[in-house]
């Protein structure tokens, strides 16, 4: 569905370094990384708002740089909230927005409005943070796009609205011909609905794996004494008064090891990879 190859972009003090990944059709991909890691820059490069120094981005086999308008019709982008035209009524914005999409569906849009309880006669500035997110997503999801790119779509939403939204995500990809790439800090959302996890650190893709495989292949270990030999096998560790906690790849565990093991969360994986004692970046 989406293929990003060797994407590079240098700003003063930040570099997107040979970012490559692929989003298969029918998948929900969670894009994680700490603030400033390069998530938004990568997404903006895909949308053409930020111009890459080099690299190739293709959507359904078509290179974006050469087929900008056609490709953007296949993509639906939402920056997570709606901070445009604050003094305009939603009806005015909708009337303009839909003219750009041949496959705009009034029925789908009306359904999302009802589902999200949105009043189109309100002005953007009268919407709460959560309502702005819902409005942005309603616009993005109503023109039959094939690839949905959302930059932190769930960050302004309460738990109930987040859960509803994740259900909508699952509905979108159910047919197998649409994909979602969304960046988030709420890794709990990934555990609920993502098929793949993409982890970026300092402008480089560190992990690109199926979510279940990622969780299965790592292990959180706890013990009292962290030896130098064990330190060399773990990805990263935290030492405290009662011992240590570390993240290790399951294939690095030896039968002679004596420590407690726990299944990690995506949060744990993100935190320990960020500490990167032995992680190759």
């Amino acid at each position: 569905m989406l293929k990003v190859e060797n994407l590079c972009k240098t700003f003063s003090g930040f570099k997107l370094d040979n970012v490559s990944f692929e989003i298969p059709a029918g998948a929900i991909v969670g894009f994680i990384g700490q603030n400033g890691a390069g998530k938004t820059t990568t997404l903006k490069c895909i949308m053409g708002s930020v111009l890459p120094d080099s690299g190739k981005i293709t959507v359904m086999g078509r290179e974006i740089a050469e087929n900008e308008t056609e490709c953007k019709k296949l993509i639906s982008f939402s920056s997570g909230t709606f901070e445009y035209y604050r003094n305009k009524k939603l009806t005015d914005i909708i009337a303009v927005y839909k003219t750009f999409f041949d496959e705009w569906s009034n029925e789908d849009f009306a359904r999302y409005l009802k589902e999200f309880n949105l009043d189109v006669n309100k002005r953007v500035k009268e919407l709460s943070a959560g309502m702005k997110v819902k409005f942005a997503l309603s616009l993005a999801m109503s023109h039959n796009a094939k690839l949905f790119i959302f930059d932190e779509p769930t960050s302004g939403l309460d738990p109930i609205a987040r859960d509803e939204l994740l259900d909508v995500f699952r509905d979108i990809v159910q047919q197998g011909d649409k994909s979602i790439l969304f960046s988030t800090h709420i890794t709990n959302d990934l555990e609920k609905c993502a098929d793949y996890v993409l982890f970026i650190k300092n402008g480089k893709i560190l992990l690109e794996e199926g979510k279940d495989e990622l969780l299965e292949s790592h292990c959180l270990i706890k013990g009292e004494e962290l030896t130098d030999e064990l330190k060399s096998r773990v990805i990263a560790f935290k030492e405290h008064a009662f011992g240590y906690t570390a993240l290790i790849k399951r294939d690095k565990i030896q039968s002679s090891d004596k420590f407690l093991t726990e299944k990690p969360t995506i949060d744990d994986i993100m935190i320990y990879y960020n500490k990167e004692v032995n992680a190759k970046c």
């Binding site: 949308m47 708002s49 019709k73 445009y84 305009k88 914005i93 303009v96 003219t99």
Partner: protein
């Protein structure tokens, strides 16, 4: 591109801003430098740029299925619209202006004749050449750009005005309403139309090249 143009008018141009076009009616003030009325189109453009920034309109346009070049061209069209509406109001009131001035003559500048409109178009053309490419170096900074544009506009008009007032042959042929020199005034108007059209197209083309390199 027309869809983007309509978007600009609907989302970035509140109806009240069109009142600036009505300031082209200053052409009916007896003994007045009529170019001041035309100059208010610059204020109209400044407020449009302000709305574009406030609304984060360029960022919104970037997520739409449009080419970057169309974002530039639609903005250029809005600028042309602001200028042409203003000049159209002046043109409609040019004849009443002649009637309102004692003996039909304006003592502080060009009369409201074809020369005035030709020179105003040339001054606006120079304004566009400065402003449109410079604005699209960033897509949002317009303060210094508009000041430079205004200076260019005033200087261009000022030079032509001085030439017409100081050279008797030009005063005779280009100022006033003498039908024997209608051809001369028509020539200036035609030159204005051609220069305005070519300059605005060139400004748009240069702006597109600059905007292709901007990170939004």
């Amino acid at each position: 591109m027309l869809k983007l143009f309509k978007k600009e008018l609907r989302l970035n141009m509140p109806r009240a801003l069109y009142l600036f076009a009505l300031l082209g009616a200053m052409i009916i003030i007896p003994n007045y430098p009529y170019i001041v009325g035309t100059g208010y189109s610059i204020m109209h453009i400044m407020l449009y740029f302000q709305f574009v920034n406030e609304n984060r309109s360029q960022e919104f346009s970037a997520i739409l299925p449009v080419k970057r070049s169309d974002i530039v061209s639609s903005t250029t069209l809005v600028i042309v619209l602001c200028q042409m509406l203003n000049l159209a109001v002046s043109a409609i009131l040019a004849y009443p202006s002649k009637l309102l001035n004692p003996n039909g003559a304006n003592f502080v500048g060009l009369d409201a004749n074809l020369t005035f409109f030709g020179v105003a178009l040339i001054a606006l053309a120079m304004f566009n050449l400065v402003v449109i490419p410079r604005y699209f170096k960033t897509g949002y900074k317009y303060g210094v750009t508009l000041i430079l544009g205004l200076i260019t506009f005033v200087l261009t008009y000022g030079v032509f005005e001085l030439l017409v007032q100081l050279i008797p042959a030009l005063t005779k042929s280009l100022d006033g309403y003498d039908v024997n020199y209608l051809w001369a005034r028509l020539t200036v108007l035609l030159a204005g139309v051609i220069i305005y059209t070519l300059s605005t197209l060139l400004a748009n083309k240069t702006a597109i090249k600059k905007f292709e390199k901007v990170n939004l």
